[in-house]
């Protein structure tokens, strides 16, 4: 891949650096929520790591992790599809596990470590799963793709950790990587373009390289 992204990334960095609500770690700030009294504020200071960078944000408590990433940190790779846990477009990794960023509050992730699609790989330095999606045409419009990729990376880790699924025949046997397993485990990521068969091929290829 050539990298039109170089420019984009520096623009993003600039935006992040200049966003009023973002301060670098170590800068003086309000204490975290524990010291907030109930009547007190409807905002909270939270600090977490996003793609390896430690950040502090002062947020309205209502801010979902998804909105914090997109609207405050300008990490717009993570997509908002339904905003209700029904599509998987917002999938990110929090402390190594895939979750729906739309159904969790940013302030609940004090000290957490978040990885978004931007952190998995960059133009010119793609994560193997990103490269496999490109190679296998694992997308059409691309809207669900960041969620699909984050989800599939964590999903393979779940198989390695021997977490069973709905289609696992024997709960006491080690989890296997089959097309049926991949489809079931990826059911939390909807693709309106219907790129499913190519998505399964991309994941299968990466899984094959891992085992």
């Amino acid at each position: 891949m050539q990298s039109p992204g170089a420019l984009e990334i520096s623009r993003r960095d600039l935006l992040v650096a200049s966003a009023a609500t973002v301060t670098v770690a170590g800068a003086p700030s309000l204490a975290h929520s524990q010291t907030n009294t109930p009547e007190a504020s409807t905002g909270t200071n939270v600090s977490f790591t996003v793609n390896g960078e430690r950040l502090e944000l002062e947020l309205d408590n209502r801010t979902t992790l998804l909105d914090a990433l997109r609207e405050h940190l300008y990490l717009t790779g993570t997509k908002k599809g339904c905003d209700h846990g029904q599509c998987g477009a917002c999938t990110v990794l929090v402390d190594g596990r895939r979750i729906n960023a739309c159904l969790t509050l940013a302030v609940m992730h004090e000290g957490g470590s978040i990885t978004t699609i931007e952190g998995l790989g960059q133009p010119g330095n793609l994560h193997p799963m990103q490269a496999a999606f490109v190679e296998h045409d694992g997308f059409q419009c691309g809207y669900c793709t960041p969620g699909q990729i984050c989800s599939s990376v964590a999903m393979l880790e779940e198989i390695s950790a021997n977490i069973p699924s709905h289609v696992t025949d024997d709960l006491m046997a080690p989890a296997e990587i089959t097309a049926a397993e991949i489809r079931e485990r990826m059911s939390g990521n909807i693709c309106r373009c219907g790129a499913y068969s190519n998505i399964v091929e991309a994941i299968t290829e990466v899984a094959g390289r891992k085992t």
Binding site: E39, G85, P164, H166
Partner: protein, 316 residues
């Protein structure tokens, strides 16, 4: 979403006390049901107490030979636990049949029990709904009721408890442990935990204000064949139309709990006595008081056929 203040609880006692003494307070665990409903302003807490840091995320053996599951154990971790997979396969299966990988990574044991109905009119704030707005009427009874309940329902509400995990917990006779604001604790058998709607469908369970679930306890393993069957409109990532959780012993006796048909996991010991006589006898007894709508009467037949499939699988 309405504005709210937020705190991370530092102990179970202070969490329960704060929840009881702060107006409009609610606990938040995984947040996967509460935040969904807050976005629609169906839930409007003015203060959230985050219980994720309370250390209630362990699964420990009990002196009776069972397991105590912390209220904050995630659905993924519960389903994947070696002991659950070996001795309570039904529970693993039910959890894995629910939601998606992402949601199960956040959803907790307590939050799953307390998840609210998926009645489409409960979610549509333009419609009358006695559960959401007591006294406003029920749009579902004469409306689109295909997904809704057939037994245990009332003239005020025909919604179901939509969850899978609770069905397994009911078959296993799990016990819910809580702490109240005054520091006292109690144990509530799951059979007594969810309430039938009657005239007050807005009251869904027996917890008091501020009462925090700390754990769910499983009795010692009961052997038998563990089966969970779920019928839904798509093969994955969908709520049940009907689900059956069963533990069947070699002599044909067993336990059966059914999801998707009632405001709580539906189980009737008298119907279980009929099991050795077959699916028809057991399901007739289980649904003796059913009052389906035209749109959801198919669930009566579906329960019988699923029971039949479960019994065949148990024999096979």
């Amino acid at each position: 979403m309405r504005a709210f203040s937020y705190e991370c609880a530092s102990s179970i006692e202070t969490a329960a006390k704060a929840a009881a003494s702060t107006d409009g307070a609610k606990f938040i665990a995984g947040g996967t049901n509460l935040l969904d409903l807050m976005k629609l302003e169906i839930e409007t807490p003015t203060h959230l107490i985050d219980v994720n840091g309370l250390g209630l995320d362990r699964i420990e053996p009990t002196p009776e030979g069972g397991l105590r599951i912390g209220a904050l154990v995630r659905n993924t971790d519960l389903a994947a636990d070696e002991r659950i997979r070996r001795d309570y396969g039904l529970l693993s299966r039910a959890l894995l049949a629910g939601a998606s990988g992402q949601l199960r990574n956040r959803a907790t044991t307590a939050g799953n029990l307390l998840q609210r109905t998926r009645c489409p009119y409960f979610y549509d704030t333009n419609q009358p709904c006695n559960k959401r707005q007591p006294g406003s009427g029920c749009a579902a009874i004469a409306g689109f009721s295909r997904q809704l309940g057939v037994v245990g329902v009332s003239d005020a509400c025909i919604a179901t408890h939509p969850g899978d995990m609770a069905v397994a917990m009911r078959a296993l006779d799990a016990v819910i442990e809580t702490i109240r604001a005054d520091g006292t604790t109690r144990s509530i058998p799951i059979a007594d935990f969810h309430r039938l709607p009657g005239k007050t469908p807005d009251i869904e369970h027996v917890l008091e204000r501020g009462e925090l679930i700390t754990a769910v306890v499983l009795p010692k393993p009961m052997g038998g064949k563990h089966i969970y069957r779920k019928v839904r409109d798509r093969a994955s990532y969908a709520f049940a139309l009907v689900s059956v959780g069963a533990i069947v012993q070699p002599d044909g006796t067993g336990r059966i709990a059914v999801g998707g048909i009632a405001p709580k996991p539906w189980r009737d010991e008298a119907a279980e006595k009929e099991l050795p006589r077959g699916a028809k006898a057991a399901s007739t007894r289980l649904l003796a008081d059913a009052r389906p709508t035209e749109q959801n009467a198919f669930k009566i037949t579906l329960v019988e056929r699923m029971l039949s499939a479960v019994l065949a699988e148990a024999r096979g």
